[in-house]
Symmetry: C2
Subunit: 331 residues, 2 copies
């Protein structure tokens, strides 16, 4: 920076002004300084910048690497953050790298707020995090924690899916749940409620699972094994999310079960792969872009307005009927 200033014949302060796009420099000086900077290859060092001004204007995003829906969310986070003048840093949780670790990386890189995509952490951890910094949880609801919260109205989504299936004549509808996954408690509850409402509590069955393809595959195997030993297949399955649904489809189709002729499958998320599958997946669409927008806005507003109470945004999901759901098979 000093080099640029010297070579352009101005003070460092003016260079700083110019690089911050602030008023106080003439057009020609501005151009000259930028030109010189470009020649020298100068770029402001953000570590020093962060240090000097109190704020980093950086949002951290914690996500799960293989969760395809998260990539949809991320796609929506960038533009909104940019619009509000914030930088975004990503940190992924993987098998070998815990969410806490991913969050620490963000925090120690001076993110002012963290957006957690479908966090799987303990409520206590989230609450502590919320005390320490501004945190927004997307998809996972933790009412007792000091974090903002964006999700879709799980119950509405599930209800639509269930009504759709029942309308098609299904009665033996099984739900693969998402374990501790975000939203799964609500979805499970809504499934049970729907079965009850349709007078099918006798048929209700929740198979424990989680939000991965593997879980779907396993459940497929389980159902087929049960079928082999005489128990009838369900006629429809409401999966915990799209990934689980895909796993299930794979496992079933490979064993000759035809979807939706023999069995209907409904997912949840409408992650961007869902409509690309060989037969598009019937699923409950969550608007990723809108969710991302809300999450960013919550974070920024809390950063700039100081002590707001934790807030909650509930978006309406919408059933998207594609190729994996059809009329109940004739007995």
């Amino acid at each position: 920076m000093a080099d640029v200033a010297e070579k352009a014949g101005v003070s460092r302060a003016l260079v700083s002004i110019i690089f911050r796009n602030q008023a106080g420099a003439s057009r020609e000086t501005r151009e000259r300084v930028l030109r010189v900077a470009d020649e020298i290859g100068y770029r402001p060092d953000s570590a020093a910048r962060l240090l000097a001004r109190g704020r980093s204007r950086t949002l951290g995003v914690m996500f799960t690497v293989h969760q395809t829906f998260h990539t949809d969310l991320i796609t929506g986070i960038y533009p909104e953050a940019e619009r509000l003048g914030y930088d975004v840093l990503l940190s992924g949780a993987t098998h070998g790298r815990s969410e806490a670790k991913a969050v620490e990386a963000l925090l120690s890189h001076r993110c002012e707020a963290v957006i957690l995509l479908g966090p799987d952490a303990e409520p206590a951890y989230l609450d502590a995090l919320g005390q320490r910094t501004v945190a927004v949880s997307v998809s996972r609801r933790v009412p007792q924690a000091r974090v903002d919260f964006v999700h879709s109205a799980e119950a509405k989504g599930v209800r639509q899916a269930m009504d759709h299936l029942v309308e098609l004549g299904h009665r033996r509808i099984v739900h693969i749940d998402g374990g501790r996954g975000p939203g799964s408690a609500e979805r499970r509850r809504a499934y049970r409620a729907a079965m009850r409402r349709h007078g099918l509590e006798g048929e209700a069955r929740v198979i424990p699972g989680h939000h991965t393809e593997e879980s779907g595959i396993e459940t497929g195997r389980l159902l087929l094994a049960e079928h082999d030993s005489g128990r009838p297949l369900p006629t429809a399955v409401l999966a915990g999310n799209d990934r689980c649904a895909m796993g299930l489809l794979m496992s079933l189709t490979r064993s000759g079960v035809e979807v939706p002729r023999d069995l209907s499958v409904v997912g949840y998320d409408d992650s961007h792969l869902s409509h690309l599958m060989p037969i598009g997946l019937t699923t409950v669409r969550q608007d990723a872009a809108l969710m991302a927008e809300h999450a960013v806005r919550f974070a920024v507003e809390r950063l700039e307005n100081g002590e707001l109470e934790p807030r909650e945004a509930v978006l309406d999901p919408k059933l998207v009927v594609r190729g994996t759901s059809g009329p109940v098979p004739a007995p």
Copy 2:
């Protein structure tokens, strides 16, 4: 930090020593200082830390958000970086956010090196980047640029795939290429070479495309339209990558073409979804973990050894035969 020092009755320097886990503090002082720090809630500020010591020990990773293979690579990058004592920061390129922008974000957050997953940028840009910082390109080869390079031996992979198809009796084998995508020039060349080697140059056909599901879908439509106007379908398609293959499968299957009965499809990457599809995708496997390991190692070695010449790691890919390839249909 000053607060901690004062409250513990020591100098700031000693606090610094203790937090860097360096020798030069007695056991009891160490414990006392850490206890005090914990009470106050002090955590070292990494911006200041970065600024003060020259180095950040942080690697930046640029990836394309929806490229599923990249998430496989990222999963491999984290542990290797951690092993070598480096932090990792992610920055995604999306439709609205160029690679250059993503890279800038990393650089201005003081990443010492950038690992580019399948970059789509101009060679000139990559070269400039390589001059400016340590850069490693994964999948895309740019010989004239000053960057390290990790990829798999595309030609070998394609050859295996082609031999497999020819062995199954296929002759009308079409290749959907990846446009400017990483590795696609090599794959295209290898496809042509294989067709020639098998005496099929007359049948060779490269359909322009790119590494997305959309491209596969479009090509599917194109082939079907051609079929309707009398041109026979190819009996096999070698897609530019797995995503393209998936799009193609969707588009064809929806229109009643049965895979692999009517047509075989082979992908490239073995991204972790490939084996999860309803019928597992026959594809050329690139070892993501190994590629990630090499990329991290290249970056770190170059950072620590100063001026090494750009290096290249070429890993052997391997054909994985699954459900989308089969014998050529009877005429």
